[in-house]
């Protein structure tokens, strides 16, 4: 079984977001970087599928040279191969991103044979376009099930469960080759082992130059929304606050 996972490097802001002066990006000088938790779970799922069925897992990203860091994280977890579509770090819209990813998948498949499964996050952490996976799957004429939180692959068929609002699940069954977008919670991603980390440090990164064909929507600028400003009332510094807390709960009418 050959599995490909797509991940996107994003900044990991802590308590609040600070923008660059041109308002087109987040100020990242003091920030770490990550991939969306959904994508982390997609990477874990790819590794588990290969552990179960044999084959190989490939991780693919479109991003700046530094996105190598996110590829090495995936390699450290157990992915076999990493591909970087290198950009200058500017914002690529979802159509441009999907086009470049689909072209890269085609090129990789022409080299080494088809992928049975393409995995994506349900949405990227930063832009949240809810579409790159769908567009790639469409370009490659593969069925895609989105927002899944459970997966079993058997005899060339993927059975995927998607949570329904308010509880319950809907179940989909699609023949491979197929594509899936994954929600956090489908698994608990492993911590990379020391050996994995060492291996990842030395692993080659396969670089390709993507072609930028803009499609939209086009980013104009970012704005940090106004937060409600509350004066925090400090009730106290120990268990002696209990009566005050219960008074509040009583006033709100939430006591039995």
């Amino acid at each position: 079984m050959r599995v490909l996972v797509c991940v996107k490097r994003v900044p990991a802001p802590g308590e609040r977001i600070v923008l660059t002066p041109d308002q087109r990006a987040m100020e990242t000088r003091f920030l770490g970087f990550a991939v969306s938790p959904h994508e982390e779970c997609a990477v874990e799922e790819a590794i588990r599928l290969v552990e179960q069925h044999g084959g190989s897992a490939t991780v693919l990203t479109l991003g700046p040279p530094e996105a190598e860091e996110q590829l090495r994280d995936a390699l450290a977890m157990g992915v076999d191969r990493a591909v970087l579509l290198e950009t200058d770090g500017s914002d690529w819209d979802p159509m441009a991103t999907a086009r470049a990813l689909a072209q890269a998948v085609q090129a990789l498949e022409a080299q080494d044979g088809p992928f049975d499964l393409l995995l994506f996050g349900n949405e990227s952490a930063d832009s949240g376009g809810y579409q790159v996976g769908i567009r790639v799957a469409h370009a490659l004429a593969r069925p895609i099930v989105t927002g899944i939180k459970d997966l079993a692959v058997e005899a060339g068929v993927a059975t995927a469960k998607r949570p329904l609002h308010g509880g319950g699940w809907e179940i989909y069954r699609v023949p491979l080759p197929a594509a899936l977008t994954v929600l956090e919670g489908i698994n608990l991603p492993r911590y990379p082992s020391l050996r994995g980390r060492l291996r990842a440090r030395k692993a080659p990164i396969h670089r390709m130059a993507p072609k930028f064909e803009p499609g939209g929507p086009t980013l104009v600028r970012l704005v940090v929304p106004e937060e409600r400003r509350t004066e925090t009332e400090i009730l106290g510094h120990g268990p002696e606050v209990a009566p005050k807390v219960v008074d509040i709960l009583e006033q709100l009418g939430v006591l039995p």
Partner: protein, 328 residues
């Protein structure tokens, strides 16, 4: 024409559809265009009087014997056919899992851009100027959207649903899509019903949340006890799910659940923006944290600067003292 796709599950209309209709009506009024609603459901075109109350002047009832269950490519096919033949200037859906994926699929089929989770739109030419949410709601993006029609979904719980000042009586147009084999592949083939034994995080009036400060899976026992006393639910941060202390279904935040209780009691949670977007719908927040500088403390209405393992048991004891016959 402004077309709005109705999100429903077996006839039950998703609440966010009313927000999308209100948003679409605002655009229709500015462009002096009629407002149409598309309902994909062989069971019927839905509540016509209610569509009318939201100002819909035409209902497109999509029906096909194979559309008995949700099938996103078939829904997208119907949307695409209608767009190609009727040329609406915009097609809008609620930013729900179904709304987002059907519009993205329509965008892929038509080769058009799609903007997800829009909160505001200015119908300028050649490109609409819009505002959409990023980072699950922690950041806004102003963007330009071209293409005919403009494809957009409306961010859930950000636009107030309002009936129209004048109700309409929309005629129903029946449309049967010409489904191809590939559009039948992705379809709900089975369901598992929800277990209804606990108060759900989404609906709970009280949520007791725990973060890394709780320290262990066992540490959550006191939070459970408090939640139970208050008829509420337990939630947690991602640090906690990552540790495997709680299931992901308890996670609050950008990649977890959005809550809207009367009060959120956040214990040992630092208040990262990805957590806060999930709990900012709470009417009131009480933070219990050893660190007075924690962001959660700054964002709370009330805070207790102390060890949660001392404060929470004391609160439980005080509730029991005042309400000896209460639950739990």
């Amino acid at each position: 024409m402004i077309l709005t796709l109705v999100d429903h599950d077996r006839g039950q209309v998703a609440r966010n559809t009313w927000e999308a209709l209100t948003f679409a009506r605002g655009l229709a009024e500015r462009l002096q265009a009629p407002l149409a609603a598309m309902v994909v459901d062989p069971g019927g075109p839905g509540p016509l009087d209610v569509w009318g109350r939201y100002g819909v002047s035409q209902v497109i009832h999509v029906t096909h014997p194979e559309l008995d269950e949700y099938a996103p490519d078939a829904w997208a096919r119907a949307l695409e056919e209608w767009i190609r033949t009727q040329g609406p200037v915009a097609a809008i859906a609620p930013g729900t899992p179904r709304g987002n994926e059907v519009l993205a699929r329509a965008g892929a089929r038509l080769g058009l851009p799609m903007a997800a989770n829009v909160v505001q739109v200015e119908p300028a030419e050649p490109a609409y100027r819009l505002t959409r949410v990023r980072w699950g709601g922690s950041l806004l993006e102003e963007a330009e959207l071209a293409g005919e029609p403009r494809l957009m979904t409306v961010a859930p719980n950000m636009v107030e649903a309002r009936p129209a000042s004048q109700a309409t009586e929309p005629p129903v147009h029946v449309h049967t899509p010409d489904l191809q084999e590939a559009e039948r592949t992705v379809k709900v083939v089975d369901r598992v019903e929800a277990a209804r034994d606990r108060v759900s995080l989404v609906d709970a009036r009280v949520v007791v949340g725990g973060g890394r400060g709780v320290g262990s899976a066992e540490g959550f026992r006191v939070l459970e006890e408090l939640a139970e006393l208050l008829g509420g639910a337990v939630g947690c941060s991602r640090a906690v799910t990552n540790e495997g202390w709680r299931p992901h279904s308890d996670q609050i935040g950008q990649t977890g659940t959005r809550i809207a209780p009367e009060i959120y009691i956040a214990c040992g949670i630092s208040g990262a923006i990805q957590h806060y977007v999930g709990c900012k719908g709470a009417k009131r927040i009480l933070a219990i944290n050893t660190d007075p500088e924690a962001a959660m403390v700054a964002k709370a209405d009330w805070a207790v600067i102390a060890d949660l393992h001392q404060v929470v048991p004391a609160v439980i004891q005080e509730i029991r003292r005042r309400h000896p016959n209460g639950q739990g």
